[in-house]
């Protein structure tokens, strides 16, 4: 496995996990219920991503793994985490207002907030990593 393949695998799996979280949150909001589909589906995507990325790292070997987690990767990771922090704070405010005004039930707000916070980091990382690849 090459560095580009390992990076592509990581981007694809983290992107899928992020999209599963967004899907869960959107459906929760649209249906105003905290369990629009099985709660373990986004979690399973996350665990599957972790397992497959780890397997990819072992298949690629130490040198390729180190190249795929170099200083640009760490900078991208930090950038995504920093932006996701502010997105998460905004989401807290948004869902607090929606729940406080009884637009959404509190359990729905908590479910959507939790999955969107995870999705924010994952999708921001995938976006910045993809941009750097262009």
């Amino acid at each position: 496995m090459t560095v580009e393949q390992l990076e592509g695998l990581r981007r694809g799996l983290l992107g899928l996990t992020g999209l599963s979280c967004v899907s869960y949150a959107l459906l929760a909001v649209l249906q105003n219920r905290p369990d629009p589909f099985y709660w373990w589906v986004p979690m399973s995507f996350g665990i599957l991503a972790a397992v497959l990325i780890t397997a990819g790292i072992f298949a690629a070997g130490r040198n390729v793994a180190l190249q795929a987690t170099d200083e640009l990767y760490r900078a991208t990771n930090m950038r995504a985490a920093s932006q996701a922090y502010w997105v998460s704070l905004a989401l807290f405010v948004l869902f607090s207002v929606l729940a406080g005004r009884e637009v959404l039930a509190w359990p729905t707000s908590v479910a959507a907030l939790g999955t969107l916070m995870g999705a924010a980091y994952l999708l921001l990382f995938v976006y910045h990593d993809w941009r750097a690849s262009q």
């Binding site: 560095v3 580009e4 990076e7 040198n63 190249q67 795929a68 200083e71 640009l72 900078a75």
Partner: protein, 67 residues
């Protein structure tokens, strides 16, 4: 854009290396070399020294402050 000018691409091609070959020799991804050459990413001091070492030039031959 950073405040750092770079002639990494010129030095790399003069050394007869592709981005992938240079990346492998300094232990980073090709994407990192590409973003440095395009002035999207500013490398650390350690990476700048490694690049200079592999290309057989001084760091100042590759990177200059944009004044």
């Amino acid at each position: 854009m950073s405040g750092l000018l770079t002639s990494l691409k010129d030095k790399r091609t003069a050394a007869g290396l592709t981005q992938a070959q240079l990346a492998e020799q300094v232990g980073v991804s090709r994407k990192t070399i590409n973003t440095i050459e395009n002035r999207v990413f500013v490398p650390s001091t350690v990476l700048a020294l490694k690049l200079a070492d592999v290309l057989g030039v001084s760091v100042h031959d590759i990177f200059q402050l944009e004044l």
